[in-house]
Symmetry: C2
Subunit: 365 residues, 2 copies
């Protein structure tokens, strides 16, 4: 058990954006809202999965859609809570705690807001250990947990309770609803027992996000190297040690919002050790595939994240802009994300690449 | 109170297809299923709105989407019942009766199936007095009844409970869901009290459908004129007397399924009194606008229906085919459907025609 204060949320937002692999939404709004909640209602209780009862009922919360829409359609701040309440109404039971479905700026801060508003605990775990573009891409799905019933809520107050036979169909229908809700929806889904959380989630990811964020921020004060700080924290986690994939200037960003996703690619011209080389990173909300001069250097499910060279601040796909000087970092995913069943669900072939998955550390030894 | 037997369903299907104005789905499947229900469970109780208690709870049922999809994706037969049950679960109360939202082959027979399966009554009324392509186009909406919560169910078993701030948003989101459910969804919505039914529905339409169907079928035995039979029945109803708009051969049908609707047009070359003239009828699930040689002869909300010249059998938009010899009939809608507020909701301008509504009987005196 750990109490979460305003400063922890500052760290969380930075670390979650890093593990978000470009997706999961910009942390700024979620951070401000979570900090306001803590100022008004006091610290939030963070529980490890092994600290909750097997029969406790947990309802994860977050958003789905194109995160960039949050910049146009500012939420009221209680949409995810209302989704949780609607799900409780449908199930006829109250949530003991909430948790994130993924790591990502917006999607890791929103559950803290919900926990504070509802006066419940937050579980230190998630279902991806990163962000992924589709909601069925979770360790929950892989291990047999249904995402139904799922609730989607928009900022107007329109809402949907969705129950499907499988999680890919949930993603398909929910994505269509999200588009008609205006591109973004606030959700509660994957309601499950404490036992299920222990058996299927990736534990400790919120603590890791906060450790990463704290380490990155500390380098601003120490004038030390943020990349070294990230390497140190990841080396001591269930993830592998972060790897520098490229350093350069963004020379082109292609970005389009279609079907409830932001898809596109970023092109970088190399600097320093990478002078004369070109990096291409494709994204669908999250960064999916990175190649240097046509040769793959990292691919899903390993994490590909852009950070500001000087400050170490992670840059989400919707914030990539021409001219930015950035470092492209890769982080090896935990082993649970790399099983054959896992690679079927979120490996490069699922996203249309005619390439077998190669672990990032084997490509970049 | 009236008991409905198998033969009544035969009549209902024909009359509802006529009032369906080309839409509401082909009656065939719904008719067979309703008759099977009656064979197995006995007659269905039909109640007039004035026979129900003010505080009785009524849940209308039906389908939404492109009716033609029902020919590809045969329903199991219990989808609408499951939608009703899901709505009961959400509201925490049981339905005393069901009723149709619209007149139309499929959408008037399905509530009979639900009534039989659930062992509840069927109310002799609907919310359109015809079929319309969009679900907010009801006298219920016009008089302030919310369609929420609405339940949509597909043949796989996926389902959605939808709650919106207004009925046009419900249509918009539900249409998107219907498309992702495969083009057709089985629904329960517009849950309301007996008082609301009395105040907002168009009463007696199921009885009228059965009277129309019985009259049309009788002409086959008597070898009498089905059009005269339709005129006689409509003359003695809240609708106006049917008017022959055109007689001819279908020379072209354009039909495409887009956005969960079937849109298109039919072109007819005139025969007998109409030789040398051309009729054009545009449809969006239902027939919307009819013009002869470019001059409007009928438009929404008045009913435009094609019938087989010899048998009087109504032809839905999805069954229109090159070469059919047909009569195009117009039927004046009840006055409640022609108020200024009503014309705003479903008059020609709503559907993109730059024409003020002209009552069919004033164009065809």
């Amino acid at each position: 058990m750990r109490l979460i204060y305003e400063a922890d949320i500052e760290h969380l937002a930075i670390g979650a954006a890093l593990l978000g692999a470009g997706g999961g939404g910009d942390a700024y709004l979620g951070k401000l809202m979570a900090q306001k909640c803590i100022r008004e209602k006091g610290p939030i209780t963070l529980l490890r999965p092994d600290e909750i009862a097997d029969d406790a009922y947990i309802i994860p919360t977050g958003t789905m859609g194109a995160p960039i829409m949050l910049m146009e359609k500012i939420p009221n701040g209680d949409e995810a809570l209302k989704s949780l309440r609607e799900l409780e109404h449908d199930c006829g039971k109250k949530a003991f705690a909430t948790m994130p479905v993924e790591c990502g700026g917006m999607n890791s801060t929103i559950p803290f807001i919900v926990a504070s508003q509802a006066g419940i605990a937050l579980i230190d775990a998630d279902g991806m250990g990163r962000a992924f573009p589709e909601l069925q891409m979770t360790t929950f799905t892989m291990l047999g947990i249904s995402a139904s019933p799922a609730v989607l809520h928009n900022e107007r107050g329109d809402r949907v309770v969705l129950k499907t036979l499988d999680n890919p169909m949930l993603e398909y229908i929910a994505r269509g609803i999200t588009v008609r809700m205006g591109g973004i929806a606030h959700c509660a889904m994957y309601g499950m027992t404490g036992r299920h959380v222990k058996d299927t989630s990736i534990p400790g990811t919120m603590t890791l996000c906060m450790a990463l964020g704290a380490a990155i921020l500390a380098t601003k004060i120490n004038k030390s190297d943020p990349i070294e700080a990230i390497k140190t924290v990841t080396r001591h986690s269930i993830f592998g040690e972060a790897i520098v994939l490229f350093e350069g200037k963004i020379i082109d960003v292609e970005r389009r919002s279609t079907d409830g996703f932001v898809r596109g690619k970023a092109m970088l011209s190399g600097m320093n050790a990478y002078a004369g080389q070109q990096l291409r990173v494709d994204f669908q909300n999250e960064n999916l595939f990175a190649s240097v001069d046509g040769t793959p250097v990292a691919m899903v499910p390993d994490l590909i994240t852009f950070i500001d060279r000087t400050t170490g601040t992670p840059i989400t796909t919707e914030s990539l802009k021409y001219g930015f000087r950035v470092v492209c970092l890769g982080i090896p995913t935990p082993q649970i994300m790399r099983s054959p069943a896992a690679i079927d669900m979120w490996g490069p072939r699922y996203f249309g690449y005619d390439v077998d998955y190669q672990p990032i550390e084997s490509i970049n030894p």
